[in-house]
């Protein structure tokens, strides 16, 4: 089975947003939202040693996704090839996963009222095409491929040229979008757009910590009480009960 990954070459990215546009038109992303988008970092360093680059944001299809565990219905799942997908037939639009994602790669689509995000253009992959953003990238800065295939571009960039992940000591869940470039550039992206810790929405916390134990206790106590009464009924016999009214 494949292990798909993407590499973004920061040396080549010019911040033109062609990938954003291609993605939005391919997947009919409503205006104001994006599955992928490019953001410029601020200018760091002291003249004349200035530093600036671009952050290409999208779903990282992490090895240990934070979103999946929080999805109540299992609409979000990880396919065997590592791609994190959303089953729209199951999604109810609760937004728990949107809160959870450290990279803020998810949004609630206001048209279908369900969650939407990058899925590495799975439908295009099935047709044998590359993801829309990779195909359209004007600077050829985006690469897509299989990390288990040693002949692929991404394999070489990740394992030989040292493309890095956007991970911190706090958030290390194995993102599979890698950034190739000068160490300073990757670090600049990481300091300006750090992944946040996976968050659980308030509703989910209340559900897990209060409501679920409460319901289990209520049902459990009732069940035990009933079992005790039933046991008594068995021991005592039914006829005795029926005669009681006569006394």
């Amino acid at each position: 089975m494949a292990r798909y990954a993407m590499v973004i070459d920061l040396k080549k990215c010019v911040g033109c947003q062609a990938c954003t546009v291609a993605c939005n038109s391919e997947w009919e992303v409503p205006i104001g939202h994006a599955r992928t988008h490019v953001r410029a970092t601020s200018v760091a360093g002291n003249f004349p040693n200035l530093l600036s680059t671009f952050y290409v944001a999208q779903c990282n299809h992490c090895d240990h996704p934070a979103c999946i565990a929080l999805c109540p219905t299992g609409a979000t799942y990880q396919a065997e090839d590592g791609i994190v997908k959303v089953d729209r037939g199951l999604c109810i639009g609760c937004g728990y996963c949107v809160e959870a994602c450290p990279y803020e790669a998810r949004y609630i689509n206001p048209v279908i009222k369900k969650v939407d995000k990058c899925d590495f253009c799975s439908a295009r992959l099935e047709r044998g095409q590359e993801p829309a953003c990779v195909e359209t990238c004007t600077g050829h800065a985006k690469f897509f491929g299989d990390l288990e295939d040693s002949r692929s571009d991404v394999f070489k960039m990740v394992y030989e040229q040292g493309a890095g992940r956007l991970e911190t000591s706090e958030v290390a869940i194995g993102p599979n979008v890698y950034y190739l470039g000068k160490k300073e550039h990757v670090n600049l992206v990481l300091t300006e757009f750090p992944p946040h810790r996976p968050r659980m929405p308030e509703a989910g916390t209340v559900w897990e910590k209060v409501v679920k134990p409460l319901v289990l206790a209520a049902v459990g106590v009732t069940f035990l009480g009933q079992a005790a009464a039933f046991f008594r009924q068995l021991m005592k016999g039914e006829s005795l009960f029926e005669d009681e009214g006569e006394k």
């Binding site: 929080l70 219905t73 319901v215 009933q226 039933f230």
Partner: protein, 486 residues
């Protein structure tokens, strides 16, 4: 227990009195109420099975993984399961809404009977009345007796008390408490269910709707367990269980368990009797007090059917006016199994009619039939659309039906109709109903035979959803059409 002496408090009964009372039946539940009850039971079972299997996140999951796999296996995919859950839930809401509306109408009618003209009251009073019928407040209000009942009931179950239970109304305090729980929870369950199904209002609202849905269902389930236990397992309340099937309870049970209600029924009976006696005072027959001597039933009636296997076989094969429904059900099931094995497909009806129609159209207007996107599905070059199992099965059904009617000596030409309508009305209604059913069957890609029976037998989700919808729609439709039959 004569009609003259209605005691204020439940008194101990002599053995023969108790025996006599246990033979008499009192009507407790309206048939609509019983239907709603069992509809509710089926819906809750289906929704609990699928609902608990829908929560798969390790954080909120309540069922073990093997259970989730089994339920998912039945439905094929989880998305199908969710669709089923939503379909059944929405059907449930619609049926309840209809019941509430008609319940309100009935309520207004009874209030008119009692001299309170609700429809002449200001709007806010009518709204108040609506709440009354939704919550049946007169019947579910807890009073002092009820609180004592709860305490005694609990102590008695624990074996700590032998005190007699305080007298109760038509519903006992436990039932009332459960009613309150359900009245509070059901609107929450319905509203949050709709919010989640159709992703209403805002993401935050959906996020909290799941939690509230789970909480409300959880509380109802813990009450439901007691409700089911008390109704179906607990020996003292067994007549309550059967009353949900027959609508009747025996008087002894009513006396012992719902004394206040029993008293009410008795008072009404007495009033009724007095009114009857006043009306027929002049009639000498009524004066004599004793009813006319009944004719000996054995003298005129047909010989009693024999008991045991011989009698059963005789009833089925020699004098089969109608087969017992359970026998017919098993027979139908075996027939269905046989067609699956022999023909590789199940029973059906509308599909066969479609083929007859296709053959007719292809004969009259062949080019139209070939070019129609619908009819051409049934046409293959060089083969008649009539070469199909269903076509021959329908002939068999007609022949079999005739033979069965002939054996039972029921063959005659007649129009089955209600007493109030003419033959023409009946023909028109039958035609309209046939058109609707035929069109609906093709829309649903099957009828009660092909889709519900054959599909249901192979556990097709669509078939079960269809069956539930058919019964729900029938329940509603029968209400509107009752005047044509009664």
């Amino acid at each position: 227990m004569g009609a003259d002496s209605i005691p204020e408090v439940p008194l101990p009964l002599a053995a023969e009195q108790a025996e006599r009372m246990s033979q008499r039946q009192i009507k407790k539940h309206h048939v609509a109420m019983m239907l709603l009850h069992w509809f509710n039971a089926v819906v809750w079972l289906a929704e609990l099975i699928t609902g608990t299997a829908l929560v798969v996140s390790s954080h909120y999951r309540v069922m073990p993984y093997w259970y989730l796999h089994i339920v998912e296996g039945v439905f094929g995919t989880k998305a199908n399961m969710l669709r089923f859950h939503i379909t059944v839930g929405v059907t449930w809401i619609v049926v309840f809404a209809v019941y509430a509306v008609f319940g309100f109408r009935t309520y207004i009618r009874t209030k008119v009977l009692h001299g309170v003209h609700i429809h002449e009251q200001p709007l806010w009073r009518r709204a108040l009345a609506l709440q009354c019928i939704l919550f049946q407040s007169e019947e579910v209000c807890l009073d002092a007796d009820d609180l004592r009942w709860l305490k005694t009931r609990a102590l008695r179950i624990l074996g700590r008390s032998n005190e007699p239970l305080p007298p109760q109304g038509i519903y006992n305090a436990g039932q009332k408490l459960f009613a309150w729980l359900v009245y509070l929870a059901i609107p929450v369950i319905m509203a949050t269910g709709l919010v989640m199904s159709y992703h209403l209002i805002a993401t935050t609202v959906v996020a909290w709707a799941i939690v509230l849905h789970f909480l409300a269902v959880g509380f109802v389930v813990s009450g439901l367990m007691i409700h089911v236990y008390m109704g179906a397992v607990f020996p003292e309340e067994k007549p309550a269980f059967f009353s949900m099937i027959t609508g009747m309870v025996n008087e002894l049970y009513a006396y012992r368990h719902h004394f206040k209600w029993w008293k009410e029924v008795k008072m009404q009976e007495r009033e009724w009797k007095q009114a009857m006696e006043e009306g027929s005072e002049k009639s000498e027959l009524a004066e004599s007090g004793s009813p006319p001597a009944p004719t000996d039933p054995l003298a005129t009636a047909v010989p009693l059917p024999r008991r045991g296997l011989a009698g059963f076989l005789e009833r089925v094969f020699r004098r089969p006016e109608y087969w017992p429904p359970y026998v017919a059900g098993v027979g139908l099931g075996l027939t269905l199994l046989a067609t699956f094995i022999l023909m590789g497909e199940g029973l059906g009806a509308s599909g066969g009619f479609t083929r007859y129609l296709v053959a007719l159209i292809a004969w009259i207007a062949p080019s139209y039939a070939v070019h129609s996107s619908y009819w051409s599905n049934y046409l293959q070059p060089g083969q008649s659309p009539l070469i199909a199992f269903l076509v021959f099965e329908l002939i068999g059904v007609a022949v079999g039906g005739f033979v069965s009617g002939w054996l039972a000596r029921r063959v005659r030409i007649a129009v089955d109709k209600g007493p109030r309508i003419s033959r023409k009305t009946r023909y028109a209604l039958a035609l309209a109903g046939g058109l609707l059913t035929g069109y609906g069957a093709r829309l649903a890609r099957g009828c009660t035979s092909g889709l519900a029976l054959s599909g249901g037998a192979v556990l097709s989700v669509g078939a079960w959803a269809f069956m539930l919808a058919v019964f729900a729609a029938g329940f509603i439709g029968a209400y509107f059409m009752r005047r044509y039959w009664l």
